[in-house]
Each structure stands twice: as C-alpha cells, then as structure tokens.
Point group: C2
Chain length 76, copies 2
C-alpha cells in the first residue's frame, strides 16, 4: 500500500469555491437563488464558496447546471 | 425550501468513470498503478470507473494529477 500523502486540499477547495462565486455573481444570483436552482441548501452553497467543502461530483454538476455553464468552467 | 428533485445521477457517474478509464488506458496504467499514483485504493478506482461512486473534488483532482491531465479532461 502507498503511504498516505498529505494533499494541499484547502487551495483546491478555495479555487473551486472562488469560481462558483465568480460565476454566480456574473449570473446575477444570490447564494439563496443559486441554492434553490441547484436544489441545495443556501448555507451549503456559502460553505462551498468559502472552500470549506469537499464537494461531490453530483453537487458539482448541480451547481454547473444551475449556473448555466459547462461543468469545466468550474475548474478554470 | 425547494422540493427535493431526483437527479439522474447514474449517467453522470458513468460518464465520469468512463473518462477515467479511457484516460487511464491511454496512459498505459493498470487500475492498481493509477490507484497507487493517486494515493487511493485500487478497489475505489474500479468503483469510480464503474460509476458507483459520487467522487469528491479532492479525489477528482488526485486522479487528474495521477493521470497527468488537466482536471477538465475528466469532464469532456
């Protein structure tokens, strides 16, 4: 088995969350409006934007769909 | 609160897993080799490829890094 290496996860989450926030503001949505469109909780969207969540594939897609963007835009 | 809508999650996971498999084979890696490079368990990589996992942001990045591709390639 490989040793468990520490990964720099916080910058990764922050970069992702920053993209969500940027695209949300570009779309003119509040966190609450985005959450409702994506069928997620408002506080969850806020925590993703702040880099606090290790968001899953399905929620990544839900956010991209609600933002009206290709999922790859969230990884720019 | 919005109602909880059902999402078609299986096709999404399958598409993602298919991309992982395609890129893994293109790189000439076994599942075990990819798992070791990404610091994940071999059986986990197999289950991702079969669309059985709602993989997280951090593991998505670990796989992309191990495959030597931009993370966006996993969402083509």
């Amino acid at each position: 088995m490989p040793s468990r290496k520490r990964r720099p996860t916080r910058p990764l989450r922050l970069a992702f969350g920053g993209n969500v926030r940027k695209l949300r503001l570009a779309a003119g949505f509040s966190q609450e409006a985005l959450a409702e469109k994506a069928d997620l909780h408002r506080t969850y969207v806020g925590s993703v934007e702040r880099g606090e969540r290790n968001i899953s594939l399905e929620n990544i897609h839900a956010l991209a769909k609600a933002l009206g963007v290709d999922v790859r835009r969230l990884f720019d």
